[in-house]
Symmetry: C2
Subunit: 237 residues, 2 copies
């Protein structure tokens, strides 16, 4: 598979990868993430003119597409399927969305950015490392519980992005993982954590992501309980 390193030369400096650095720099990155999200959203709308119903139609297109992509996959879903599901006439879709990949990006990007932004805020808090890891896991599980379709599409279709979208989505994933790495490294340095296996971050992300296939809101366990138990299973109470 493609090496992550291949993409890293294109990325801005990732201070979360360097444990021990001041968190002030991360606040800067956090602001950058939020600004990027906001700017892209505005640009998307501005490019097509702010018609009264454009926003609502885009939302409907994205919601119907998430359902279709989660059900049958991105590539197996045609633009005609999306138009039909969103109640749009032939050709009208492109009035609202630039391409099918733009829809995929609008499904996947916002919650990945939210997880990263909330993760960086947790990273910069003053709590002990174990508490930070519990909170990160809860945010991750909250997304799986409340945006199940979008998460399923994101986890399955990461390789369906092309060009700069592919680079950005991989970068966001790597930065999310880097937040976990940095909190563990910091916790070990400060003596708040001990004997954490270097595989912990990979293992916990795998365990959390897998929940997208089996977790049901309203089931025996809440998303917070699943998060707490997975952390306890790997790090002890």
């Amino acid at each position: 598979m493609e090496s992550v390193a291949r993409f890293q030369s294109n990325l801005p400096t990732d201070s979360a990868r360097t444990p021990g650095r001041s968190c002030r720099r991360l606040h800067g990155r956090f602001a950058w993430v939020t600004a990027t999200e906001s700017t892209t959203g505005q640009t998307g709308r501005a490019r097509r003119g702010p018609g009264r119903n454009t926003g609502a139609t885009r939302q409907r297109i994205v919601a119907e597409s998430a359902r279709l992509f989660a059900d049958r996959g991105y590539h197996a879903t045609g633009v005609a399927d999306i138009s039909r599901a969103a109640g749009l006439g032939s050709g009208a879709l492109y009035h609202h969305m630039g391409s099918k990949e733009e829809i995929l990006l609008e499904i996947c990007r916002p919650h990945v950015i939210e997880v990263l932004a909330r993760g960086e805020a947790i990273q910069c808090s003053d709590e002990p490392a174990l508490q930070k890891l519990r909170k990160l896991a809860r945010v991750h599980m909250e997304m799986i519980a409340t945006r199940t379709l979008e998460l399923r599409v994101s986890l399955r279709e990461l390789d369906s992005f092309t060009g700069s979208n592919k680079i950005e989505m991989r970068q966001l994933r790597d930065r999310t993982e880097a937040v976990w790495d940095a909190i563990v490294a910091d916790g070990l340095r400060r003596g708040e954590l001990a004997g954490v296996d270097p595989l912990f971050v990979k293992a916990v992300l795998g365990a959390l992501n897998y929940a997208v296939l089996w977790f049901h809101e309203g089931g025996a366990l809440s998303s917070d309980e699943v998060a707490d138990r997975i952390i306890a299973l790997m790090l002890g109470e």
Copy 2:
């Protein structure tokens, strides 16, 4: 998402889901699995006549398809792409394979069956439960290390199967998970394991499956070492 229970009414009785039953029944199931694998392979070849190069051509089609499906996804790969990659003229592909889904099945099914068969053999051995779980994890990681492309396709395209293929592939996945469940339940009953969180099986399968995205043969850790560390991380040494 679709409930697994929806499919279970179609499945043969799954004795691995009933901890405490005699392993003799499992030996029966184990034999059934192996027989099915063998029969299907023979049927596939016999149906099209045992031409001298048919087997080799089928293997080439399956290998090239695995590469293409892993790279760009099942639905995004056309029959023309496969024919070109396998060096076959237009239309010749269907002389060797009944459909694109048959190719997908031939990529995914054999190693899932092998994991299940080896898992059931481990389940029926006389070793302590913790040792059985370590061995299961090693088998899982060995598959990820040696059949990376096939595993990536299997994990990503489970929802791309249709009809009876979909039922069979979900059944195989559920039965593989049931082997883990049964070993844990048996270990708890015999007092060989204590205090294992009921989420352990979901967590360990998530952690192992995630390795398909980051594990590289020849990297810092062997597949056995990754398996041992993931089990130790969750159950202690």
